[in-house]
C-alpha cells in the first residue's frame, strides 16, 4: 500500500496539471483567429477550398449518370457538353453548348476503336427520356443523379446549379414537390436572394402548387434582387448571356402568370421587358400583338353589348 500511494498521488497531480493546462489553453484557443471550432467540418479542415474542385467533379459525375455513362473524356470533343445537359434541360440554366452532342467520339480511327465501341456506352440518351432502354415509363430513373448532386452541394454550397437541377427533377420527374422546395430553400440559405434560385422556387409555386400570388411575389423579388446585384455594374456585365437569360426567364414567367390570372395589361408590360433581352424579339412581339388584340376584343365586347 505504501509503495502505491506516491504513484496515485503523482497521477492525481498530473491529472490536475493537465486539466489546468487544458483550461488555460482553451481560453487562449477561443480567442485565436485560426479557431475553426464553430464550423468543425473535417473535410473543411483537411482539404479546405479544394472541396470546390471535388464538388465540380461530382456535379459532372451526375451529368455522366444523366447520360448513362455516354460522356466525353478529356480526350474527346467537349464543346457540346460545356453546360451540363441535366442543368440545361431544367430551363433554369443558360446553355453554352455548341457542336454535335451525339458525335463527340468522332469517326472511328482503327479496328480496335470500332471494336471498342461495343464495350462502352455508345449512344446519346438522357435518363429522364428512357435512358439506354428508350423506355419513357422509366423517366423516374433520373433519381440516379441525385446522390452526386447531394455530395456536390455538400462540398460547395455556393454552387447554385446543384440545387436548381436537383429541385427540377425532384418535382417534375419524381413528384417530390416538398423535397424540391426544401432543396431550393437550402440553396437560398447558402446563397441568399439568388435570382435563379428564386426563379426556380417561383416555378414550384406556379407549376406545382398553382399559387399565383406567392409565385408572383417570389419572381418579383427575384427581379428586384437581380437589379440590386447589377446596380453600378457595367452594361457589358448586365447584358451578359447568363444575365439576359435569367431576366428573360423571369419576365416571361411573370407574363405567363399574369396571363393565367387574366391581367393582360400587366402581362403585356412583362412581355415588353422580355422582348428587350429575348433572342427572338419578333416572336415575342407577335405574342404581344395577339394579347393586345384579345384585350381590345374584351374591352369592345361590353361596349357593343351596351349598344
Amino acid at each position: 500500500m505504501k509503495t502505491t500511494r506516491p504513484f496515485i498521488l503523482l497521477l492525481l497531480l498530473l491529472a490536475v496539471l493537465c486539466s489546468g493546462l487544458a483550461a488555460r489553453i482553451d481560453c487562449w484557443f477561443i480567442g485565436w483567429p485560426g479557431n475553426h471550432e464553430e464550423r468543425l467540418d473535417p473535410l473543411d479542415v483537411m482539404i479546405g477550398d479544394a472541396q470546390k474542385l471535388f464538388a465540380g467533379s461530382f456535379y459532372r459525375e451526375a451529368d455522366v449518370y444523366y447520360h448513362s455513362g455516354y460522356y466525353p473524356t478529356i480526350f474527346d470533343d467537349r464543346e457540346a457538353f460545356e453546360t451540363a445537359h441535366m442543368a440545361e434541360d431544367t430551363g433554369a440554366v443558360a446553355s453554352h453548348n455548341r457542336g454535335d452532342e451525339t458525335g463527340f467520339m468522332g469517326p472511328t480511327l482503327d479496328f480496335f476503336d470500332v471494336f471498342n465501341r461495343h464495350f462502352i456506352p455508345n449512344r446519346h440518351t438522357h435518363l429522364d427520356e428512357g435512358g439506354p432502354t428508350d423506355d419513357l415509363g422509366k423517366s423516374q430513373e433520373v433519381r440516379e443523379i441525385l446522390p452526386w448532386l447531394k455530395i456536390s452541394s455538400t462540398l460547395d454550397p455556393e454552387d447554385i446549379r446543384t440545387y436548381l437541377t436537383a429541385a427540377f427533377y425532384l418535382r417534375t420527374r419524381m413528384g417530390k414537390v416538398a423535397e424540391a422546395e426544401q432543396v431550393l430553400r437550402e440553396g437560398l440559405r447558402h446563397n441568399p436572394d439568388n435570382p435563379q434560385l428564386l426563379y426556380e422556387l417561383g416555378r414550384v409555386y406556379f407549376e406545382n402548387y398553382h399559387d399565383l400570388p406567392h409565385a408572383r411575389n417570389i419572381w418579383e423579388a427575384a427581379l428586384r434582387n437581380w437589379e440590386k446585384q447589377m446596380a453600378g455594374k457595367p452594361d457589358s456585365e448586365k447584358l451578359s448571356f447568363d444575365n439576359k437569360f435569367i431576366v428573360q426567364r423571369l419576365q416571361t414567367h411573370l407574363a405567363l402568370l399574369e396571363e393565367a390570372a387574366g391581367h393582360f395589361n400587366a402581362a403585356i408590360a412583362h412581355w415588353e421587358q422580355a422582348k428587350i433581352v429575348s433572342s427572338d424579339p419578333g416572336g415575342v412581339q407577335k405574342h404581344i400583338d395577339e394579347l393586345e388584340h384579345t384585350l381590345a376584343t374584351q374591352t369592345n365586347a361590353p361596349a357593343t353589348a351596351a349598344h
Binding site: Y65, T73, F112, H118, F119, R143, E144, L146, L170, M174
Partner: protein, 258 residues
C-alpha cells in the same frame, strides 16, 4: 495435362489458405454496406452509385489478388528452394509455368464468382431485377482480362528480380492501360513525329485491357453486348494470354536456377 492440374491444384490450395481474398472481400462488403446505408431524398431505389462503387472495389480487389498472388509464385518457390524438388520430378518447365498460371487464374475465377454473386445480391436488393446474362458477360470478360494480367505478372516474375518491383510495374501498367489505353491513338494524332509513331505503335502492341471493362454497361443497365462480339473479345484475351505465356516460357526455359 494431369501434371499441370496437379500443380494448379497446389496453387489453388495455397491461395485458399492465404488471407488476401478474405480481407479484400470483407473490405468490399463493408464499404458497400456503409455506402448502401445512406439514403438520398428519402428514395430507397437509388442504386447506380452503389453499383459503381461496388464494381470499382471488385475490380481493384481482383487486380490485387491476381497480381499479388502470381508475382510471388516462382520467386517464392526459388527462395524456399521447393522449386528444385519440383523440377526433379518428371515435369517440364512449361508444365510448371502452365500449372502456376492455371492455379492463379482459377483462383481469380473463384474469387470473381463470389464477388459478382455479392454484387448481384446488392443490386437486386434495390433494383428488384437480376440481369444474369449481363452479369455473366461482365464476369467472363473480367476473368479473361485477369488471364492476361496473370500471364503478364508471370512474365514479370521471370524477367524482373524483385517481387515488389514486379507487383508495382505490372499494377501501374495494368491501371495505365485501363485508364488511357483506349485514347492512345487519338492522342498520337495530335502529336508530331517520331512521338506520334511511337505512341501509335504502343497502341497496337499493348493488350487492350480496357476492352474488358464493361462496368459502365452494367451500372447503367445497357443492353447485352452482341454475343459474337463478346466471343471475339474472349478470343483476343486468349490469344494475348497465350502470347505472354509463350514469352514467359522462353524466359523460364533459359533461366539459370540457383
Amino acid at each position: 495435362m494431369n501434371k499441370i492440374f496437379a500443380i494448379s491444384n497446389v496453387v489453388l490450395l495455397e491461395m485458399y489458405r492465404r488471407k488476401d481474398f478474405y480481407v479484400l472481400f470483407i473490405v468490399t462488403a463493408l464499404i458497400t454496406a456503409v455506402m448502401g446505408s445512406v439514403t438520398f431524398f428519402k428514395d430507397a431505389e437509388i442504386v447506380r452509385y452503389l453499383k459503381a462503387i461496388c464494381l470499382f472495389l471488385i475490380w481493384a480487389s481482383s487486380l490485387f489478388i491476381a497480381i499479388g498472388a502470381t508475382a510471388r509464385q516462382i520467386p517464392a518457390e526459388r527462395e524456399s528452394r521447393t522449386l528444385f524438388p519440383l523440377m526433379a520430378k518428371p515435369v517440364s518447365r512449361s508444365q510448371i509455368l502452365l500449372g502456376k498460371f492455371l492455379g492463379c487464374w482459377l483462383a481469380c475465377g473463384v474469387a470473381l464468382v463470389i464477388f459478382y454473386a455479392f454484387f448481384g445480391c446488392v443490386a437486386a436488393a434495390r433494383e428488384h431485377q437480376w440481369p444474369l446474362a449481363n452479369y455473366f458477360q461482365a464476369l467472363a470478360l473480367h476473368w479473361a482480362m485477369l488471364g492476361i494480367v496473370v500471364a503478364m505478372t508471370l512474365l514479370g516474375s521471370l524477367v524482373l528480380t524483385a517481387v515488389s518491383s514486379n507487383i508495382t510495374i505490372t499494377f501501374i501498367a495494368a491501371v495505365a492501360i485501363l485508364l488511357v489505353g483506349r485514347y492512345l491513338h487519338k492522342v498520337a494524332l495530335s502529336m508530331t513525329e517520331p512521338s506520334a509513331a511511337i505512341i501509335t505503335g504502343l497502341y497496337y502492341v499493348i493488350p487492350h485491357l480496357e476492352l474488358f471493362d464493361v462496368r459502365d454497361l452494367i451500372v447503367h443497365n445497357w443492353p447485352l453486348i452482341p454475343w459474337g462480339i463478346w466471343v471475339i473479345a474472349l478470343a483476343y484475351a486468349a490469344a494475348y494470354t497465350a502470347l505472354l505465356l509463350l514469352l514467359s516460357w522462353l524466359a523460364f526455359r533459359r533461366k539459370v536456377l540457383q
